[in-house]
Structures are given as C-alpha cells and as structure tokens.
Symmetry: C2
Subunit: 384 residues, 2 copies
Amino acid sequence: MRDVAVIGIGMTKWGELWEKSLRTIFVETALLAIDDAGVDRLDSMVVGCMSSGLFIGQEHLTSLLSDYLGKNPVPAARVESACSSGGLALRQGFIEVASGMSDIVLVGGVEKMTDVTGCEATYALGTAADQEYEGYHGLTFPALYAMMAVAHMHKYGTTREQLAMVAVKNHENGSKNPLAQFPFKISVEAVLQSVLVADPLHILDCSPITDGAAAVILCPADMAKKMKKPVVRITGSGHATDTIALSSRKDMAWLESTHLAGQKALAMAGQKIGDIDLFEVHDCFTIAEIMITEALGLVEQGRGGKAVEEGLTALKGKFPVNPSGGLKAKGHPVGATGVAQAVEVIKQLRGEAGERQVKGAKRGLTQNMGGTGGSSLVHVFEAD
Amino acid sequence: MRDVAVIGIGMTKWGELWEKSLRTIFVETALLAIDDAGVDRLDSMVVGCMSSGLFIGQEHLTSLLSDYLGKNPVPAARVESACSSGGLALRQGFIEVASGMSDIVLVGGVEKMTDVTGCEATYALGTAADQEYEGYHGLTFPALYAMMAVAHMHKYGTTREQLAMVAVKNHENGSKNPLAQFPFKISVEAVLQSVLVADPLHILDCSPITDGAAAVILCPADMAKKMKKPVVRITGSGHATDTIALSSRKDMAWLESTHLAGQKALAMAGQKIGDIDLFEVHDCFTIAEIMITEALGLVEQGRGGKAVEEGLTALKGKFPVNPSGGLKAKGHPVGATGVAQAVEVIKQLRGEAGERQVKGAKRGLTQNMGGTGGSSLVHVFEAD
C-alpha cells in the first residue's frame, strides 16, 4: 500500500443555508479544496452523505455532484454510514489512493438538512437507528443518547454539570472558529436552564441541524512531496461496527466500535494514544464525547466526566478534544462531519488554526460515529 | 495492486417477497455466498443499496446488515450510485482487496422495493434523476427512457418491434433461470399489446419492481488458489459518470458513461470486446440494452436494434447478452442488480449455468448503470 497524503482542504461557513441547495454547498466547498491543493485534475471522487434521499429527495448523488463540479466523466462514489458517512468517505478515498487505483482523489462530505421540517429531520436522523426495533417504537436520537447518559451517570457517577461542561468547552473553542454555525460561548447555567429534550439531555447538550460540506484532496505522499505541498499523511485508518440497536449491547455506557476502530487506526499508524496532540471527536451529544474519550483510551473507563471537569480535554489541556468547536458549536451536517474533522486536523497540523491553534501539533486523530455507535471510523494524521 | 478473485456467490429467488424484510433477504443471500466460498471469516463488507431510506425508512444500512449477519465488528460500508449501486460495491470491494487493506471481502447488493406503494416506488426511483431539473417537473424513468427510445428510433430507424425483441430474448433466457422473478417466455405481440407506459414503451419493455439481494466473496487470487477454489479473476474495472440530467447530454441516443467505463475496464483487463464470451448488461428498459450494445462496441452506433433482430445477442448468438434473463425477466432490485450480474457471470465461467450455459465461456463482462446513464460501472471477469 502506498503512503497517502492530504494536500488540500475546503470548508465554507456552516449554518441554516436556506439560500443554497446541496449541489451549491458541495461545489463551493470542493472548489476551495481543489484550489488549496493546486491540482488540475481529479482521478476520482468519494462523497459521504447520510440521506440526501430523505432530506432533499435526491439519490444518485455523485452523478449529480461530479456533474455540477464540472468533472464528468470522473468516477464518483457515494458512501453512507449514517453520521459517520464522512469518515467512511475518507477511508474509501484512502484505500483508493493506497491501492494505486487512483492518484488524486477528492473526498467530500455533505448534508442539506434544513429543507425539511423539524419532524421530518428527526425522522430522517432516526433512520440511523434500527427502524424495526427502535424507530417504529418511538425512539429518537436524543432519547437513545439520554439512556446512554443515564447508564453512564448511574454506573460511574458522571454528573449533569459534567455533561454541560462538554458543551461549554466546545463552544469556547467554537467561538474561535469563524466557520462554525454557533461561534459563541455558553455557560454551564445556560445549558442547565435550556429546554429539556430527553431527560437528562437539554437542547444545549445536542448538536444542531446544519447545512454544510467539507472536502479534502488526497494523493500519494511521494506525489505531494514533488508538488512541494505541506505533507500531512494519513497514517492509520480504523473502522468497526457494533449492533445497530442500543438494546443489543452488553454495556450501554461503553462504545465498543470506537474502541476497536481506535485500536486499529493507532496500530496501523504505529502510535499510542498518548502520542497524539489533538482529537476531533463525534460529540453529537455531550455524553458522546465523554464516552469517546474513554473508548479511545484518553482516560480510564468511567473517568470521562471527571476529565472534562479537570480541563484535561480543554484547548490547553493535556489532550485537546474538539478544538474546532466539535459538532456542538461548529454544527453537524451529518454526512459532512467526518470530513470536516479531517479539515480541522490538517489546519492544526499545518499551523493554520489561528486563535484555536494547538501549539506544536504534529499528530492528530479523528473519530466519527454512526447511530449510537453502530459504526465508528478513526483516522490518524501526521505532519512530515 | 493484487490480483482479485471471486470465490463465492449467493443469490436467492427474486420477486415480491412480502413475507421477508430487507435484513432477512440480505442475510439469507450473504450466507449462501459465505457457504459457497467456504470461508470462516470476513475482513470487510461492502453493500450496494440505492435507497433503503425511501423504500424502508432505514439508513446506516451496513451497521444493521453486519449485525444481522452476526459479523460485528467487521468494517462494513454502504455505497450508492442509484441502480448501479451494486456495480459500485463490486468496484469498492475489488479496490479494497487489490490494495491489501483486506483479504476476504463480502460484496453485497440489496433492495426491498415492495413495502411501499407503486407511486412511492416511482418517486424513490425518480430520485436517480436530477430532482430539481427533471423530477419536480414530472419526469419519471419510463418517460426519460421513452425519450431516449424516440431519439434512437428517429436517428437510426430502430423499430418498435426491435425493442420488443430485446424483452422476448431476455424472457427466453430468463425462462431457464429458476431464480428469476418472471421465468417465462413472452412474444413480440404480447409486448406490443401490453399496457402503454410512456410512448413508445409498453409495460413489457420495462424491468419490474423487485425485492432481492445478491452477494459475492472476493479475496486475493493467490489465496483463492491455495484454497483450491475455482478461480475467476476480476481483471478489469471501469467507472465513469455523465451529466445526471438527460437534457444536458450532447446525444440522447448515446451512453457515453458506458462507453468510457467499458473502454477502461477492457484496457485494464488487456482485452478487446471481441474477446468476451458473454455479457450481463443493464436492460432496465428494452431501449437501454440496444444502446448499451452500441456503447460497449459489440455493434456499431445505431446497429443495436438490428443486432437483436438478427440474433447476434441471443444465447447462441455471437455475443450472448443477458443469459440470466437480464433485469427484464430476472427482476431489478436496484441495489442488487450489479452484484447479481457478477453472480451470473461467475456461474457461466464455472460452467454452472445449466440450461442457459454459454458453452466454453472463459471471459465475461458486466455493465451496470445508474439513472439514464449518469453513471456506469463495467467489470471484466476471467476464469483461470
């Protein structure tokens, strides 16, 4: 397998982009990445999108997107793994370049979520759960994560305030990210006083509904060097699944797929978790980030709540988690999130992250998750 | 890149399977392929499905399917390219094995289309067209292919009877395929007297709505040899896109994406079209098969109608096209079709195709298409 580098990144401002359609959002973003890479051709495209079918009534997505990007007849593949569709796109693009099948591959992620009503969006997102055994019985994602939160609080003594501290930290970071949907700070009190969605989760524990896209350009590391681009390699890729239904898990307070994907990615990279300088992880709900820090091995099982309280995962902590603002503040256009995590890591490893720069960062890790952890994708990046 | 072989195939009877859910159909089929391959593990899964979101309200599909197959935590990716989702799954699985990332990969395709009404199915299938510029203005797929048929008839003199002969030929072949949805013969008169759907296409020019799945197991060719399995290699893979909207094409009577994907696949295989012994192609409508035989270079542009009339593409003709019965008689569960084409080719190259066996077949080709040709996937197979 060939070494793979990221040579271009693109992301536009996320939010409720009512004036733009999915194709417009994607093309604007992809052009930024192509321009950043300075390439004059693409050999292939891989795009992650969870549900353009339910959100905008459009399948056959990559025929559409390659067309509107002006890149026909380029081979173009769409991949879907619910909210980890972007991470899956990154993995498929990585494999394609590593294999020798293609040299220059655009990996994109996109979702247009605000063209439907809130109820329709909740239904569409709910299709990431087991429809026959969860969805049709009334379970929504806030409800599922609320059960995970209760399990974690019961088992480890995680507090309601610790959950809020995840949101506060990520908004603190997000306030330094001009592309974030909600680039402002919030307080623990604000979280606790916000509307209750599914006990114990309040609305400020939840990532928002977002329109947005992200894109990166991959190529063989040798080619990147010749192009005299700053070389950031993808050194590890891990992918694992778990039962789709939360009720089938041995432990509702543990993310086994993230644990396994993390181990695989680190083993491939030849690194230990302590070697990594920053982490972009899937904080779709505050409890998720706490459980992810445990599953990746940043802290011991059950210590995730304490870790955020002690500042371990703050921007200037030992393990900076979600310097971008995470899903909570940056936004969560579901299919785009996994690719946007890579965009942030590349910015950090190039030293281009401005006010939220993690000083001297050389290695970063992304963790992207589908459903309640029914699938997880972890990637490790390293600057030359 | 490593040489890749297919060592297992699985397919169950297709049709309106009201008594089975998508997960059941997929698992039954995947187990047949695993059993046929005789493998005791999977390293990865790739599954093509066009729109489980719109057809059964389920995304995050491969978390579900790996779960119900009992294969968690195996990495499992879903890919989508409308009706060419199965062909795309085959390509992604091929790349994954060729790269060295995984050794034993299950490639599946599945669609459950009969749990919705006919109108809902027409809408779901219509999402393979450009929704903003085609779908919302009332264009359905029979209407789009009807326009292609009219263009072809006008430009080349293709006759209404020649269109019917494609359906007659494929039902003749399908009558020899016990897994086909419609395993019976029809006549030209029956086609011409059947209900008119979109002039000039009658209902017997159209492939049906189908529930079904198909699966193959891939591994490195070296591993297949050691396992003493009959080795059929995938020697070529081609993928190309075209404008998603039919109105944007230079020529409505020509399938450029199929032409380019075919050239790429044959070049990779080091073969010419005349070297291939049989073809499984995407006859979603009768006119499609006629245009595909031209785009692949079996006959000159404009001669596809004449070719079927002269028996060139019959089971015992010079270029047997759709020995399985094709989409027309075998059925068209859209995400499964591209994988089922591979299943048929492997059966033929192993000499296991029974009454519809193409004698002495050594090389076969599959052509799978999305939308009106907005994307095409072509694969070449060769028996050792």
